[in-house]
């Protein structure tokens, strides 16, 4: 009877209201909302801190622009025109307002920061994608081979290579690769000035060394993580026992079942390290003369080009925070084990 009454009560609009309330109150949305809010706070915090730090530098921008023979009066006038002599909170407020309107300002050379970013950001992103995809694919292959026979040849070799990769910094790997591949074997060019413009072939030719320099340590970390996770699952999880009992071949058990769950952990780690990846990429871009935002940042820092530095730092911060957000989401919301676990408890 109660059920019949309930069904009656759930008229069309009442049902819709109920559904909307359930969606709005769903734990997933609350988690996402809260994370998003703190992400925005973090991004704001980074830009604020950058502004503080950069403002603390002795600022002789006007002097640099005008050259050695400028009189103090000229310097003062340019300072006033550029708005550099206003108090710090005012300057930050101006910048913040213009950012919220989508305009990141103009850098010292007069070019718009937006256009600089639009020009250089894709190059970096392509390089990052190349490095990530390459290292993940290789890591998957090697980790599966190693986990198939723990203690076997593939396992030991991969462990040794991973240790080397973890311990070698990207810039050391870059220099060694240059020595071996470019100088001795003449396979790849030393400089990659025109990366990003041009054919796929030129991208591969110019991008392989930088991507490999970044990708080799990544490959090491991912292989280790995947291998540990796969072995952990193969030894401890019940569903593996079920799968084996069903008669599925060991390869299939490994690839179709264990690997899918390990990928969650892998993506989480990638997300958490995204910010540092871009930082490492900056050094590699400098070594290989890749025209990406990393090397742009380094030159801007050298020129003390504050608007450009702020703009690029904003991009870095957004990428880092997005990476963290993605990792958090993967972990707290999307992983069905955790989602259902929560609902039960």
């Amino acid at each position: 009877m109660a059920l019949a009454q309930q069904i009656q009560l759930q008229g069309s609009d009442a049902g819709a209201r109920e559904r909307a309330r359930r969606i709005a109150g769903s734990p997933a949305l609350i988690v996402v909302g809260r994370r998003l809010l703190s992400a925005i706070v973090v991004v704001w915090g980074v830009t604020f801190m950058t502004f503080v730090v950069l403002s603390a530098l002795p600022n002789d921008t006007a002097q640099v622009l005008l050259g050695l023979h400028a009189t103090p009066a000229d310097v003062a006038r340019l300072n006033h025109a550029l708005g550099l002599d206003e108090p710090f909170p005012v300057r930050y407020w101006h910048w913040l307002v213009s950012v919220l309107h989508g305009n990141l300002g103009t850098d010292l050379e007069g070019a718009s920061v937006n256009s600089q970013l639009a020009q250089h950001l894709p190059v970096t992103m392509e390089l990052l994608a190349y490095a990530l995809v390459g290292s993940v694919v290789l890591a998957l292959i090697v980790a599966v081979l190693a986990a198939r026979k723990p203690g076997g040849i593939a396992d030991r070799v991969s462990t040794a290579i991973s240790l080397l990769g973890l311990s070698a910094a990207p810039y050391v790997v870059a220099l060694l690769l240059i020595i071996v591949a470019s100088v001795e074997l003449n396979l790849f060019p030393v400089q990659s000035n025109s990366l990003g413009s041009g054919s796929v072939l030129s991208f591969v030719q110019q991008g392989t060394l930088p991507a490999a320099s970044l990708g080799f340590p990544l490959f090491a970390i991912f292989t280790r993580l995947l291998r540990a996770d796969l072995l952990d699952q193969m030894q401890r999880e019940d569903y593996i026992v079920t799968a084996k009992a069903k008669g599925i071949s060991p390869w299939q058990v490994l690839v179709r079942h264990a690997l899918r769950n390990s990928l969650y952990n892998l993506i989480t780690v990638i997300g958490l390290n995204l910010g540092q990846l871009i930082g490492a990429l900056a050094i590699i871009e400098t070594i290989f003369s890749v025209p990406g935002i990393g090397s742009e940042l380094l030159t801007a820092l050298g020129n003390k080009d504050i608007p450009l530095i702020e703009g690029i730092t904003l991009v870095f911060a957004v990428v880092t925070v997005l990476g963290n957000l993605l990792a958090d989401l993967m972990y707290a919301v999307l992983d069905p084990r955790i989602r259902h676990g929560r609902a039960q408890s």
């Binding site: 801190m49 950058t50 311990s167 810039y171 020595i179 910010g275 820092l301």
Partner: protein, 301 residues
């Protein structure tokens, strides 16, 4: 059931759990020997490098690491008076390695120490006391971690002058939040264990509980993280020196050596290879040591 938080120690995963020790004879002795070697070989390498860098100059007078006689430039290894030869401007390579190693270890150990103490205290306080202090602190730590490393390092180098002390300052901005996050996670994990609850119920005051119960139990994870962190900081110090924002030439440092070697890389690759190989060996030893310690002590969790 608490959801396991991905803290820093799970991000660089260690080796898988040890296979069970077998109950007999030769195999058991071989396994035990293997474990002993896995701990003491890397430890010996690290101790040896530390001894060479810090103690050797006190015992033997090494050739200058900053000034060189241009007439002796390009000497090969095992020349008289120059154990590893000289570089392109005549400075002795071995003493550059020794003094550069000194600087690298000074920086990384100082930064790790400061991060451990400051970050550790902040993290433990945040994790143990919780509440709004924890929320604010976590946001602050997130902001510091998201802050691009290069900007701060360069800003400090430009504004205050690039030298070892300022480099330490800049790197501390990372090390403190890293340790903070780690200790906060570890504290959260053990906070509701029975012995902690018992300590609180028995009336022990906050800081006493922390000192007597929290700290001893999170120490193993923190020590292994520190070792891995020292390796990472040596690499970072090398990178900063390479870019010119850390130790300035002519003071010797591994990053400077690599940079100088890079200039003549096509003609004489050994000037890049020697410091790079030394760098890799030291960091590999530190990583192996950290891994082995994590395997030995981590089992308590």
């Amino acid at each position: 059931m608490a959801v396991p938080v991905p803290d820093a120690t799970t991000l660089t995963p260690g080796p898988p759990p040890l296979p069970p020790l077998l109950a007999g004879g030769r195999r058991l002795r071989a396994q035990r020997a293997g474990r002993w070697l896995r701990l003491w070989v890397p430890a010996a390498v690290v101790i040896l490098v530390l001894a060479i860098c810090f103690l050797l100059p006190l015992v033997i007078t090494l050739p200058s690491s900053t000034n060189g006689n241009i007439l002796q430039a390009g000497d090969p290894p095992f020349s008289p008076g120059h154990w590893l030869g000289t570089d392109a401007v005549g400075v002795d390579i071995f003493s550059q390695l020794v003094y550069g190693g000194r600087v690298a270890f000074e920086v990384s150990l100082a930064v790790t120490g400061i991060g451990l103490v400051a970050g550790g205290l902040l993290g433990v306080a945040a994790g143990y006391f919780g509440g709004w202090a924890d929320a604010i602190l976590s946001r602050l730590l997130d902001i510091l971690i998201a802050f691009p490393a290069l900007v701060l390092a360069l800003a400090i180098a430009e504004g205050l002058g690039p030298n070892e002390f300022h480099e330490i300052l800049a790197l501390c901005v990372f090390s403190i939040p890293s340790f903070g996050r780690l200790t906060r996670g570890a504290t959260l994990v053990i906070r509701d264990h029975p012995y902690m609850v018992a300590a609180r119920l028995s009336g022990t005051r906050g800081w006493r509980v922390i000192a007597r119960h929290v700290l001893p139990n999170i120490m193993p994870g923190i020590v292994t993280f520190s070792l891995l962190g020292v390796g990472l900081l040596i690499i970072l110090d090398g990178a900063l020196d390479y870019l010119g924002w850390g130790i300035q030439p002519p003071t010797a440092s591994w990053g400077n050596m690599i940079y100088n070697g890079y200039q003549v890389m096509t003609a004489q690759p050994e000037y890049v290879l020697i410091p790079s190989i030394v760098l890799v060996i030291v960091v590999v030893a530190l990583n192996l040591l950290g891994d082995e310690l994590r395997v030995r002590w981590g089992g308590q969790q």
